[in-house]
Amino acid sequence: MTVSQDAAVQETITPDGRTIGGVLMEMRNITLRFGGVVAIEDISFDIRQGEIRAIIGPNGAGKSSMLNVINGFYHPQDGEVWYKGAIRGPMRPHQIAAQGIARTFQNIALFHGMSTLDNIMTGRLTHMKTGMLSQSVWFGRAQREETENRAFAERIIDFLEIQSIRKTPVGRLPYGLQKRVELGRALAAEPSLLLLDEPMAGMNVEEKEDMSRFILDVNDEFGTTIALIEHDMGVVMDLADRVVVMDYGRKIGDGSPEEVRNNKAVIDAYLGVSSD
């Protein structure tokens, strides 16, 4: 693997004192079509180590499609995906998960028949290697592995403050907590890159504040790189280091929140263009 040569050069310190490293993931000229519909057209951007990168845009702009390209659920017709300094060939989503990309979903996609703990333990699956035989005997390797991973899952549970619902089936939890459990499941994989698809959709102000705090803490404590889609502009402007703006499948803006806010094309896309 060749590490991007300008990794060291680009290292920067944010105003709040976090270090942002070299390029972790780079999308080059991605085009995604469904038949005649162009969902993403020739988009390039990069995500750097340790940053919080937001993708914003009006409904139907292709943001979720972009996340689906990143975690391998869609395969773009054109363009290259570079991850950790190497070009990524065609891979199945579960192989990409093993490379350290985890995500949450716009509509919660928890495993409803399982408890909170089991859902979070499912996030650990990429770290659990014992085979079927030692699993079936249980005592010995399988139990040891289970206990080690349980300890990690409990750290996530502590971190997200969901100790009291550890054994509750997730179907019974309120919406806000389900979102939190889903974040926990993604975190349990110890991802290098965490994709959040509208983590605050449908939440009230307190829940949004909680979730924002968790996202910042994740980035801070675990050093996880985060790419998130969000519609709440206040949240985006506060959280994100850099923002990509999409509209009708094209990129219309890219830069710090300040730059994006003052970008003419972005303002037009969000507020409309005056006719006179």
Binding site: A98, L125, Q135, A142, R150
Partner: protein
Amino acid sequence: MLYREAGDFKVSYQADQQTFPIRFDRLFFWALLASAYFVVPFFINDYWANAVLLPFLIYGVASIGLNILTGYCGQVSLGSGGFMAVGAYTCYKMMTAFPDLNLAFCILAGGVTTAIVGIMFGLPSLRIKGFYLAVVTLAAQFFLVWMFNKVPWFYNYSATGMISSPERTMFGYAITGPNATPAATYLFCLTFLVVLAFLGRNLTRGSVGRKWMAIRDMDIAAEIIGVNPLMAKITAFGVSSFYVGVAGAMIFSVYLGAVEVTEAFGIQKSFLLLFMIIIGGLGSILGSLVGAAFMVLMPVLLKNIMVNSFGWAIDIAAHFEFIIIGGLIVFFLIVEPHGLAQLWRIIKEKMRLWPFPH
């Protein structure tokens, strides 16, 4: 001591992962197991072995198998009868081709062959789901039964088309054939059930079981989290068919002794197993056993009440039996769609706080 969960605190993750986290449950389980091994064999007679205990033990194995596939991994199968037949005929061919081979080995070979056949029929599950998969497994059921009827090699060219098991012994005791004692066959089947239930429980509580359940609950999310859907479904089909095949081999060799494939392993067996896991509880090893017990015991109980206590004619009692069992199934599905295991869970939750409701 009162039976309850409250106040039973765990201080290590291992203690928290036990199969029976409640102390009373644990003691009860070991007492039950001990009496099953050391008390029942001294009192068992032909009637109890053939009408109640053997069918319960063997169907218990089969319903754990089907529950792994349908309850844990969410893949509906209507081919269990056909898969049982694969186990039975493999066992028969092994017994007749290698007369010196140990019976337990023949039965396990039946399981392994069935696992391979099950994986073959499970391969389409990657592409098709739900009802459509059920139809594929239904095709497996009819195809396998047809094959065992049509190809004489499978029944060693016998004139009747039936297969019958020769006498085989374990540790000097006859297990199959006319000289087998009820105690010996009972202990043989009990050991198979205990070992397979133990293995099944371990598989379903660890990472393999979580992969299966993730596929069942939301396959797309499971794949994005790192579950290989092909491997998860294939292993579920393999393990499940292994259990079902072992059960089929035992039905043939130990329980019935001689079988005709259409009668013993027809579509009604597939439905019987499906009833067992639905009534017992999908996604629960305990539920599989409770469901098997229910479907085996209920007809015997009803027959005893109607024929022996009320003195009704046997044919009328048989008809009533169908009606009552059917009614009970509907009743249970309405009252508790998640099965008897769920009912037990709810009772336990209530007991946690009893006698204070809040």
